[in-house]
């Protein structure tokens, strides 16, 4: 798994850094609204990737630690900070399961469009709680699968597209994980966008080996199961469902 995500993000760091959706998706704006930062916070952005979330935090908070395990992604994040003349972001190569920061060091923790790569969501949430001050807030944005996706079709699609994809839970599963990890005041917003197949596939391309595998998988599944997984086989579109979840460490 580790090698998979290093491969995927090492190879595609530049494409991710140019992704309009990652840069200015409405989920980022909503996350900032939910966090309503006051300006004096210390934040940690876990699995910061190419740094779009860290940059938005840095405009609104005192200090941001941007943590990611892939050097190529962090280099793109640093370029973005330079371009925006943001000097209050500190970059650290590190893993979300073993964040190299001391207990109770943060007021706010974010993790956007990354948690589907984590093998153990509860372990990640517990690590986030260790890092948060009492009363501190976590904000997680990530893709979720439909509640009715009984055959877990969606995750099988996503793994074919991105071998570093591990598991995107349902919202009800996320709520359970957060409460098991000890978070309180759990609040979840849900958004759905419709993606063309080509857009969903990005940064991979039509005609590539993954595309071929995905089409083979599609033809092996019934339309009913494909629809439950959020894929419309007639229109060739995906419903991209995301949650914006916030909770507090009490």
């Amino acid at each position: 798994m580790e090698k998979n995500f290093q491969d995927h993000f090492g190879k595609h760091a530049v494409e991710y850094s140019k992704s309009e959706s990652h840069k200015s998706g409405s989920d980022l704006k909503q996350l900032m609204e939910e966090l309503s930062l006051k300006g004096n916070e210390t934040c940690i952005d876990m699995a910061a990737g190419t740094g779009f979330t860290a940059a938005e935090l840095a405009k609104r908070a005192k200090l941001v630690y941007a943590i990611d395990a892939t050097p190529e992604m962090l280099n793109q994040a640093r370029k973005l900070a330079e371009e925006n003349k943001l000097t209050n972001i500190k970059f650290i190569l590190g893993r979300v399961e073993n964040v190299p920061l001391t207990d109770r060091s943060a007021d706010v923790i974010t993790c956007r469009r990354a948690a589907h790569h984590f093998p153990d969501k509860i372990e990640f949430l517990k690590e986030a709680r260790r890092l948060l001050k009492i009363g501190g807030k976590i904000g997680i944005v990530d893709m979720v699968r439909n509640e009715e996706d009984s055959e877990d079709v969606r995750n099988r699609f996503e793994i074919l597209r991105d071998t570093s994809h591990v598991y995107a839970p349902k919202i009800t599963e996320w709520k359970r994980y957060m409460s098991i990890a000890g978070f309180k005041n759990i609040n979840v917003l849900e958004t759905t966008e419709r993606y063309s197949y080509e857009r969903w596939l990005y940064p991979l391309k039509i005609g590539g080996p993954e595309d071929v595998q995905i089409r083979k998988f599609m033809s092996s599944m019934s339309d009913e199961f494909l629809r439950k997984g959020g894929f419309d086989p007639l229109e060739m579109t995906f419903d991209k469902k995301r949650m914006i979840a916030t909770a507090q460490n009490w």
Binding site: A69, R78, A81, T87, G94, R95, P100, T102
Partner: protein
Amino acid sequence: MPYLWEKDNLNMYRNLLDLICCPVCKGDLTLSDEKEENGEITSGILTCQKCGNRYPIEEGIPNLLPPKT
């Protein structure tokens, strides 16, 4: 290079070492062999005072990935 870890003039390296710790045992880190440019640390070695693991700072970014076992 304002995005690097800056050396605080009054309290050397306070910014860098206050909050970061060893990813394995959460022990305190000490900095050695550091190189600076314009008051910012560009390279060096962070050593854990508890477990002895060593972590490099390269091009201004501390590499605090747990050592491969």
